[in-house]
């Protein structure tokens, strides 16, 4: 049984343009740099990638100093507390680019260092770009705080577990956690985004 308030956003590789700045940063190149190999890796990745996002809109409370209560979990984090300043509600979201990306990376790992590295960078930039894409849809014009993820600063990574469970991320998105709270598929994101009144 899944919680009944979860919404979904999906997209294909061609729907989401991979952010050039993000990509350049991960490849360690100048912005806008590309070559034939990068483009062929991009083309292959865009064919196999399937973006999915599950999110809920929830009220947030502040039962104490540096504590954010999401109703289903409490987060003690000064940085999140500051991030949520002025917000009475938030979007809690989980996003993934799908297991096919992990498989492609496993294959390239055997075949070519260059293609592995490039595709890994492309996929990281891609999931971030999809997060921007999905947030724009959720926001629908509303003003929001920057996304804030478990693992950033003092927002403990161990909170991934209740976070993902609440979003039925395993059932809806196929996101699972290992014992170190890392997600599979590798290119997945969880985040909170405060909604400013």
């Amino acid at each position: 049984m899944r919680n009944q308030d979860i919404m979904l956003i999906t997209a294909d590789g061609k729907d989401v343009e991979i952010n050039r700045n993000e990509l350049a940063q991960r490849l360690g190149t100048a912005r806008g740099y590309s070559n034939e190999l990068i483009e062929s890796c991009r083309e292959r990745l865009e064919k196999i990638i399937t973006y999915k996002c599950a999110y809920i809109r929830i009220p947030i409370n502040r039962p104490g100093e540096n504590i954010i209560d999401l109703g289903y979990m409490q987060v003690e984090s000064r940085q999140l507390y500051n991030n949520m300043n002025g917000c009475q509600e938030a979007f809690a979201m989980a996003l993934t680019s799908g297991i096919a990306v992990d498989r492609e990376l496993a294959r390239l790992r055997v075949l070519s260092r260059a293609e592995y590295f490039i595709t890994d960078a492309l996929a990281s930039a891609a999931i971030d770009s999809f997060a921007d894409y999905a947030c724009e849809i959720m926001q629908n014009g509303a003003s929001c705080a920057p996304r804030f993820s478990p693992g950033y600063g003092d927002f403990s990574l161990s909170l991934q577990k209740p976070f993902l469970e609440r979003l039925d991320a395993s059932g809806l998105l196929g996101i699972t956690l290992d014992s170190g709270f890392l997600m599979t598929p590798m290119k997945s994101i969880t985040a909170l985004m405060g909604i400013r009144k």
């Binding site: 049984m1 899944r2 919680n3 009944q4 308030d5 979860i6 919404m7 979904l8 999906t10 490849l27 360690g28 190149t29 100048a30 740099y33 070559n35 190999l37 990068i38 399937t50 109703g71 289903y72 799908g98 297991i99 096919a100 992990d102 498989r103 496993a106 294959r107 790992r109 055997v110 075949l111 070519s112 260092r113 260059a114 293609e115 592995y116 590295f117 490039i118 469970e165 609440r166 395993s170 059932g171 998105l173 196929g174 699972t176 956690l177 290992d178 014992s179 599979t184 598929p185």
Partner: protein, 790 residues
Amino acid sequence: MKKITELIKEKRVYFDGGTGTLLQEMGLPAGQSPELWNLTQPDKIISLHNMYFDAGANIVKTNTFGVNRVKFDNYKELITAGIECAKTAAGGRENAYVAYDLGPTGQLLKPLGQLDFEDAVSIFADNIRVAAECGADLILIETMNDSYETKAAVLAAKENCDLPVFVTNVYDATGKLMTGADPAAMIAMLEGLRVDAVGMNCSLGPDAMLGIIDQFRKYSSLPVIVNPNAGLPEMRDGKTVYNVGAEEFSDYMVKLAQGGADILGGCCGTTPEFIRQIVEKTADLPYKLPEKKDYTCVSSYTHAVFVGDDPILIGERINPTGKPKLKEALRSGDLNYILSEAIRQTDAGCHILDVNVGLPEINETEMMKDCIAGIQSVSDLPLQIDSTKPETLEAAMRMYNGKPLVNSVNGTEESMNSVLPLAAKYGGGIIALTINEKGIPDTAKGRAEVAKLIIDRAAQYGIDKKEIIVDPLALTISSNPESARVTLEAVRLIRALGVKTSLGISNISFGLPKRELITSTFYANALQSGLNCAIMNPFSEAMMNVYYAYRALNMLDSGCTDYIGYASAAAGETAAKPAAARTEETLHAAIVKGLKDIAAAKTEDIIKDSAPLEIINEHIIPALNEIGTAFEQKKAYLPQLLMSADAASAAFEVVKKNIPAGENDKSKAIVLATVKGDIHDIGKNIVKVLMESYGFTVYDLGRDVSPERIRDCALEHGCRLVGLSALMTTTVPAMEETIKLLNETDRSIKVIVGGAVLNQEYADMIGADHYGPDAMDSVRYAEAFYSKEK
């Protein structure tokens, strides 16, 4: 009461619908596990079941979906109470059944995830035992979105109870499971595991399921279950509602029933009213269970491969017979080489890959398991598990993700008694060799008789003859001139028995010159005689020519599309090769620019006039140094550096073929590895080839190797010299960790380190015994090490 499997033969039966919406209406807070109510609010759970029975459902799912020992310490109590609730509701009713509801663990299995397959089996097994003890009528494995986890759950059920097993998976908008399997693949695997009904649940609404019900009708011989969601959740007035109402939903269910769904019910968002309307609208529809299908097929975690008129290519390259490089990779545990062979054969157009790792000096079962897990993470082709040892076959069939092809059984009592029960338990296509106690019959008729014997014996195990693919054995014509004609005749006779055939094609030309000519001509003859599968070399142009031409000539290639694609690609390649060699680029420039193909072609060209070491020292290394310097000076980017490394590797592969391996001396051995986290291995590969040419036995563990594996390899082979390579600063700590572990294990093990980021000072700091600035230096150190020993 009749068993549910008997009742479904007589009439359409119905599952219940969703629980979430109703329980939340009854006061279950969002985010709380509904299963806890089995203990705290059992009356509410019972009333929910009663509502569904009253609405016309025959089977209710127990409120145990998320319960397992990982999530709940009191899983036994929760399951027991859950089944008790359902049984209470079912009590006194006619045709009312309790399905023990088993959902996924929420963890992904290895190799992509972290949960071990056998651990998953064990988690599910604990649940199943409780459910069986408590008197559930059937097991429903549901909402599974991964084929591997589904297999673990089914095995657990089969091994721990005799109850009927129903399985429903979640297919998404593309008609596939989250991890990639389509209905045909799931049906192949689940029928092989002998479940009692298959189908789909949850996911999208009933309209989306209409899009894939055809595939169930086409492929399934088992009753088909359809339990959709009430469409998709939508936000309306601040509340979530599913967008398909009972009326619309039940109309779709009528269409689904007409399209091939036998057992109907609902999932998230559906209520007793949905079930009532489904029953009302479908109870009088004509009802007929699926007829038995006659497909011969095997599957992977994504798709099924059907063996029929269209020839099937089974890649033979992962088999050590006659392949020294593979033998060496197996001995040293170098999975990378094996995986790259798997990828190359996949790219070359194979449909199935044979996996044989039988070498007397290795643990075949463990190696087979490692190879299957590894290959299934880089290739989505079904695998042919190839071993003469039943224990190896069993271990591999068990952990294989999908329905494997099993190579092989033969007509001896020993083989039939050991292999056929495995196929009956795990499922699988079976290659049947026409060998009996007396050997291989000389005549085609004799071979067909052995085939008949195996088919009959398999039937006693409940294995249908569609699962059997007979290999009447091609023996070389160089020692047995009649062989080809006998084998071809045997193919015809065996096809007439109504089974499919396979041949290891290459054997036919053993011992003859220009083998490809004989092999490919024989292949054409065999196809004409009705051969279905060929175990063959997909890198042989002559063989691929026959394959594509045969399909074009026999109306198996509509519009000759595949043939034209193949022919133009082949023409392009022939033109490209000399062009690459003719290009003005020097080898040096090709490496610096990261042009892999040109670097290889150029090396082929110059190796005719240059010594191998000269090419390494005068072309490859200086080019790598140039790009390395450019990178350090920020004149080149990391992708360029890596492209150059790939190009240098390609060039080096060519050089390697031309370095004669020295006589392997077991007393002079070295373990080589690129350390954990590091995937750069060109330096290590150069050291390896040099070491081998100087007569060392090299245990090459590849790249990204854990400290433990390096230690284990050194201990296993009693090897006291280890070479470690790292190219990235970030992986030097892994090198240090490895040295520490080796020192702790045996202080007499000496470690040489090398790699771009290292120098003497660094090497001293991390406790290495020697720093090798280049490959030759490492060889000299190793020579000195072993001469001191003497």
